[in-house]
Symmetry: C2
Amino acid sequence: VRTLKLIVAYDGAAFDGWQRQPGRRTVQGVMEAHLSAVMGEPVHVTAAGRTDAGCHARGQVASFSTGGRLPAAALPPVLNRRLPADLRVRAAAEAPLGFDARRGAVARRYAYRLLREDDVLLGRFAWHPRRPVDADHLARATAPLVGEHDCTTFRGAGSTPTVSVCRIQRASWRPWDGGVLIDIMADHFLYHMVRSIVGTALALQGESDPARAMRERLAARNRSRAGPTAPAHGLCLEQVFYAEGAER
Amino acid sequence: VRTLKLIVAYDGAAFDGWQRQPGRRTVQGVMEAHLSAVMGEPVHVTAAGRTDAGCHARGQVASFSTGGRLPAAALPPVLNRRLPADLRVRAAAEAPLGFDARRGAVARRYAYRLLREDDVLLGRFAWHPRRPVDADHLARATAPLVGEHDCTTFRGAGSTPTVSVCRIQRASWRPWDGGVLIDIMADHFLYHMVRSIVGTALALQGESDPARAMRERLAARNRSRAGPTAPAHGLCLEQVFYAEGAER
C-alpha cells in the first residue's frame, strides 16, 4: 500500500460540488470511478477543500491510498484520457504513507472573480454583480480581515461545526481581465465563507468607512450581519499549502 | 420598415459557427428564431463576421430590417430572457435604413488567446499549444504583417473568393491572465486567416529572424508556406468598426 496525491482542476459548472452523492455528478464521484478502474481496486479520495456545487478549482489537492502499482508519473496522462474535459489531473506524486490532503493542509488560497460588465466567456467563472464594482472600496472593506478572527458572521447556514476562528493570511484585490478578484488565503475557511465575505464587501461599498463597518460586522459574530452570499460560480480554489510547501 | 443593429456576444463552444445551416445549432439560426418570435415576423440577420464553428464573439455586430415596432432599447432585455446562456445581446440601436453590418464594417478586431499551461477554465476560449510560448518571438514574427498585403498565404482552403489584399492596422501581442494574446485588426480577414497567422507565428518561434521568415512566407502568396492553422476555440471577434465609430 502507498499514498498518492493529485493536483486537480475542474470547471465546476456541471458538477454538484466535490463530495460524492448517490445519483449526482460530483467531482469525487467521477474521480473515484476512473481512479478505481485504473488502479484495479476501489479507491477513496480525500480533498483538501470540499468545494460547493458550481465552484471551480485550479489547484485542488486530493489524496488516496492504494495497492495499485501504476507509477505516479503515469497517472495524469492515463487519467486525463479517461476523464471528462471539465476535470483534469494536473500532476501526481507519491506522498508519505497516510498523507491526508485535508488534514495535512496548512492553508488554502481561493480567488473570487468579479466582472465589471456581463461577459459570456468570463461569466462562466466570474460574477457580474448588479451594483458597480469599486475596487478601492472593496479593498478597504476586506483589509481588516487579515489576522486571526472568529469568522462566525461569515459562516453559511447548514454547516457542520468546525473551529470558527480562522487565521486569514491574505485578503487582497487585484485587477484581472474582466474586473477585480479577491485573492484570499487562510489556514481554513468556514462553509460559504469566501462568498459571504465577497457579498458583505460589496454591500459595504456605500459606507463612508468600509473598514470600520467590516470590523463591526466581524465582531458581531452573527450571521445576520453578513451581506448576501455571492454566487458559487465566481469562486475558485486556486492553491493548497502543506508543511513542505505549496502543492502546485 | 426600419433597420436595427445588435452587439452580440457568444460562447462558440456549442455552436456550429455563425451561419444558418439546416439541422445545426448556429448563432444566426438561434438568433433569427427568437428575433422572429419577438418581432412577430420572419427576421433575417446579417453579421459583420461569419465566425467559424467553435469561435467566440464579444463584439459581433448583426443588423436586420423589420416592420416590428419593439423599441431598440427593449430588445436586449426581451431577447436575453429568451436566448440560451451562451448567446447574449449586449446592446441594440436604430441604424440608418438599409444599414448592413457586413458591408458597412470598415474594420474588425479579433483576439487569439494562447495559454502557457493547460487550464480547465481558460481553456474554453484559449489554446494551449504543445510548444512553449515565447511572447518576444511571436511579436517579432507578426510585426511585419502590419500594412497592406496580399494575404493568400494565410487563406484557408475551401474559402469563397474575396479580395486577398488586407489592410492590417494592428497585430500586437499582450499578456492576459493565462498567457499572451494577439490583438489583430484589419479592414477584412480571409477565411481562417487569424488562426493561420497564429499557427505560422508559433511555427516561426525557432527561427533566428522570425520577422524575415514571416515576410518571406507572406510574399510567397502560397498556402503551403503557412504553419498549421490554430484551433478555433482560441479565437474571439472582439470588436467591429463602422465609419461613424466603434460599435461596442
